[in-house]
Symmetry: C2
Subunit: 192 residues, 2 copies
């Protein structure tokens, strides 16, 4: 069982755009918690942060997670418990950074993922090389219609968008997170 | 805009196991329709079949799809319309095969995906090679606790399970479909 002790995910609910280009704090989606934590567990991520400044939303996440990790859900489905145990709640990216620093290894480098190309976009090959060492990395996913450019600009790195062959780039954040983890950590299993 | 004219997906709701090993027809999940059709559109799949013998479930799918393709949903979010337009409804795998045959190109070869290894498992490399020609392929995903062994045995091919590094193999079918399409058709986008 390999765990990438220095690799973290964060799902950002503010500042993101709504459909009309207004900056909002998006609502947490229960499905995001389940699907992304299961992918995080599959690929051995250390922790998965749900980041929102809204206190009621943070409490909601804590209630969902405790249902599956401590409550009836964990007895009903232990596999789900193993995944949701990776979830942490934070009010801001600064709080996430502080907690990772307390885990040791230094200040994590942040890597933004976005559906649009960016002048600083790096390839998946480049990112696989970059994360090979001991330094902690924190991969950020936006919700709703994506993170603001200012927020993206503050990130240490920007990962290239996932493009298929069709020109259509409207994957759910759940699908994007799964694909990106597989590109970074996956392998063709007959080789195992 | 590249479309893989001979590549199809099907989401199988019967015969699958429930949590207790009983064979059931599982309920259709709205999120499966949205997430998997968006991934199918991204990677240029020709059509995405929702397969269930339950007539009320087929009608439900048709109602959801028409909301997004013909109704208010399509005006609200045209990107979602473009994805859900790929969805077709079928009562059985035989009906899916018949419809694909009518599209031309012959009887599709079926490829089952499953979370468990199988004696006939082929690698992703092998499958990428296999699907390069003109012959139609139909990739089957199970729901609930997975397809029955008898159903899997009837498939022409079995694709290797997705394994991360952790030994945990409980991805959602939405995540698994996204990852598998990316393994078959994706590429590192800075190379475009």
């Amino acid at each position: 069982m390999t765990v990438h002790d220095n690799f973290y995910l964060a799902l950002i609910h503010h500042p993101v755009y709504d459909k009309n280009g207004v900056i909002i704090a998006s609502a947490v989606s229960n499905l995001d918690l389940h699907d992304i934590s299961r992918a995080a567990k599959t690929y051995g991520v250390r922790a998965f942060y749900i980041v929102t400044p809204l206190e009621d939303q943070r409490r909601l996440v804590e209630r969902i997670v405790s249902h599956w990790t401590e409550g009836a859900g964990g007895d009903y489905n232990p596999d789900r418990r193993d995944a949701l145990e990776l979830i942490r709640v934070a009010a801001s990216l600064e709080d996430v950074r502080d907690e990772i620093v307390r885990n040791g290894g230094g200040v994590p480098a942040t890597v933004v993922t976005d559906a649009k190309p960016h002048p600083r976009s790096i390839s998946y090959d480049a990112m696989r090389e970059m994360i090979k060492g001991e330094h902690p990395y924190l991969l950020l996913f936006g919700t709703a219609w994506g993170m603001t450019p200012e927020y993206i600009d503050q990130s240490d790195h920007v990962l290239a968008p996932i493009m298929g062959h069709s020109g259509y780039n409207h994957l759910s954040v759940r699908s994007a997170a799964a694909i990106i983890l597989d590109r970074l950590f996956g392998r063709d299993t007959l080789d195992l």
